[in-house]
């Protein structure tokens, strides 16, 4: 597999490990933002190979984990409406709502479909004119273009029975919020490569400058991650703070202009509640008011109470990097992937699930 195998080369990883050993003189705590990076670090066993005094904390970059409980309840509510086909990406299905998950709703007869693309949902709407098709549009800047495009397609086809239930979240405001939190322990970031592929890199300069904190935009393969960590530790050891791009084979500074253009046609920035973290100003996308017809939040009269989070779940501390999953008293006991108390135990990108599946190596 070209462009992949060379980034999974054990000898290159070892060279970076040796270099890291040489350059690291004191303890550092760094955060990888994206859940995909967490997954790769744990799945490839990289965390166990790093020098002991480098601590990786796992960021909030798992869309499944930060989607608010209330919104999952809304999705379940809609799925249980007789006339609705609720479509979702696969890993949202197992996330526990306050009463049930979408998977449980499906087992009870709700029409819930797993799709890989929202454009399939538009086709579904076209083929089922007597049904309302709702796409559960979660994710970061990475999934926003496709979700926005589905609205444009529905508009072009003049479909009245397609809408999206949005909970889009944005990375840079979350990084700001993390750094400015009193409990922050993070000294540098590996930024999410794919988010920058869409949005470009300009949003990160102010975070670097204002907080005097190094950021390295990083990919997802073992060699990418190792190189990103080395670049970040070098900056920290030298007392520098710069924005660097490890993932330049995919990320260019302007991002994908066409994709951003599509996002801007459909979405506008809004305040957003992050599950486990709370409300972060200007940290999400919602459907523009003039496209309300395609906004399931407005289209349907969803009347459900705001539910309380499970008190035993420390997802907030996990998502802010204050605690590691295995420091949670419920980890692997009351909380497992089969019976998750909180979202990070569900998605394969969630830090708790990644730890549960891939660690415990004695």
């Amino acid at each position: 597999m070209k462009y992949l195998s060379e980034y999974r080369d054990a000898s290159v990883v070892n060279q970076y490990l040796e270099e890291l050993d040489k350059i690291t003189t004191r303890p550092w705590t760094i955060m990888e933002i994206c859940g995909g990076q967490t997954h790769s670090l744990v799945k490839n066993g990289i965390i166990g190979l790093l020098p002991k005094h480098i601590t990786m904390v796992h960021g909030p970059g798992c869309p499944v984990c930060v989607t608010p409980l209330h919104l999952i309840d809304k999705a379940v509510y809609l799925a249980e409406e007789k006339n609705v086909i609720l479509c979702s990406y696969g890993d949202m299905l197992r996330v526990p709502g306050s009463k049930k998950s979408l998977l449980e709703a499906k087992a009870n007869g709700a029409d819930v479909r797993i799709l890989y693309s929202p454009l399939e949902a538009v086709t579904l709407a076209k083929n089922n004119p007597d049904k309302q098709v709702v796409f559960f549009a979660v994710g970061f800047e990475t999934t926003a273009p496709a979700n926005a495009l589905s609205v444009l397609h529905a508009q072009r086809e003049n479909l009245k029975n397609y809408s999206i239930l949005t909970s889009h979240v944005l990375v840079p405001p979350a990084m700001e919020a993390l750094v400015n939190d009193d409990t922050n322990i993070v000294q540098g970031f590996l930024a999410a490569g794919h988010v920058c592929t869409i949005m470009g890199i300009s949003e990160y300069y102010p975070i670097v400058e204002l907080n005097k904190l190094p950021i390295v935009i990083t990919g997802f393969e073992p060699v990418d991650l190792m190189q990103g960590i080395v670049m970040l530790i070098k900056q920290l050891e030298n007392g520098e703070y710069k924005l660097e791009n490890q993932y330049s084979r995919v990320v260019n500074s302007e991002g994908n202009k066409e994709a951003v253009n599509i996002i801007n046609q459909v979405f506008e920035v809004c305040n957003r509640v992050w599950r486990g973290i709370g409300e972060i100003p200007k940290s999400g996308y919602e459907v523009k008011k003039e496209l309300a017809l395609y906004d399931a939040n407005k289209k349907f009269n969803i009347q459900i109470d705001e539910a309380q989070e499970c008190q035993d779940c420390i997802a907030g501390e996990i998502l802010r990097g204050i605690k590691k999953p295995n420091q949670c008293p419920q980890f692997g006991k009351k909380c497992t992937p089969i019976n998750p108390l909180g979202a990070p135990m569900v998605s394969s990108e969630g830090a708790c699930a990644a730890y549960y599946h891939f660690t415990n190596v004695e």
């Binding site: 597999m1 992949l4 999974r8 080369d9 054990a10 990883v13 070892n14 995909g36 744990v42 799945k43 490839n44 066993g45 990289i46 965390i47 166990g48 190979l49 869309p63 499944v64 990406y89 696969g90 890993d91 949202m92 299905l93 197992r94 998977l103 479909r113 797993i114 799709l115 890989y116 399939e120 979660v138 994710g139 970061f140 990475t142 999934t143 794919h194 073992p222 497992t336 992937p337 089969i338 998605s347 394969s348 990108e349 549960y356 599946h357 891939f358 660690t359 415990n360 190596v361 004695e362």
Partner: protein
Amino acid sequence: MENKIKMHLTCPMPKFDFDTINLGHGSGGILTHKLLNSGVFDILKNDLLNQKHDGAVFELDGKLAFSTDSYVVNPLFFPGGNIGELAINGTVNDLAMCGAMAKYLSLSFIIEEGLPMVTFWQILNSIKQCCIKANVQIVTGDTKVVEKGKGDKIFINTSGIGVLHKHANINLSSIQDNDIIILSGNIAEHGIAIMSQRVGLEFETDIISDTTNLNFTIQKLLEKYGEDIHFLRDATRGGLASVLNEIAKDGNFGVDIKQIDIPVNEQVNGACEMLGLDPLYVANEGVFVMVVKREIASNVLEFLNQDENGKNAKLIGFINNEHVGQVILQSNIGGRRLVNMLPGEQLPRIC
């Protein structure tokens, strides 16, 4: 795959009064008899089935193995096979993994009304071809029809009985510390072949299901290596990871494997990356895991590599007493991680 059964409709479909199966075909009345007599019995005919008893009456010598499995695959036809082939090969292979040569099978259908007769006929033909290839006979069976919406086109159950090889001692309790784990071929091909055909997920690929009968391969191995083969299991649902976890958890051993030694076809790997699936958990229908005595492992591998069903076989790891209950994988870059059981279905990722 050269040993795939080529679907020729060598038995022309008899003239039935209906184009589709309806509730009457499961009523036990005239329609049922017509379907059975001019259809099922005729195509699957053998001495025991021809007796038309309520059950089959026969004698067998030696220690026996008995197994059952139900088949509910969707779609019914997929690259490299169909539900009928799975139903025969699956039960034949379950018996093979016990160390037995399958001899007689039962065959039961639960059909949703409205199934096109031609579909039923194609499935039945595949069943016949598979029986010939695996040298087994269908000796008893049943056909039920359920209302539209109460099933999903067709479900099949087969049970099978077979005679154990005289040197077979296949058991979790036969596994020893330091034994070697052999994997018989490329993983995840069946699951990805099915996935490539699912509505809403269609993607173009040359990957075909690996469904095949493994009974002759296993018998040859037992003939040559007998009791030094300690354990066998086909890596069907739940994939390779589940079998290894069963060995670790039910057998009270530690299992160590190396990712680099696990054979995965490049296209399959690509499809897994695209879909966000881990090939270790994807289903197989013609791949088995074998635990053998360390001293004979390389000879077994060489022998297995000569067989059509083992040409891609590899030594993938070993048994130990160190991390009991855990499967630990050394990743391609040298890191170590746990390989756990899957909680429910593998669900595709968002991004």
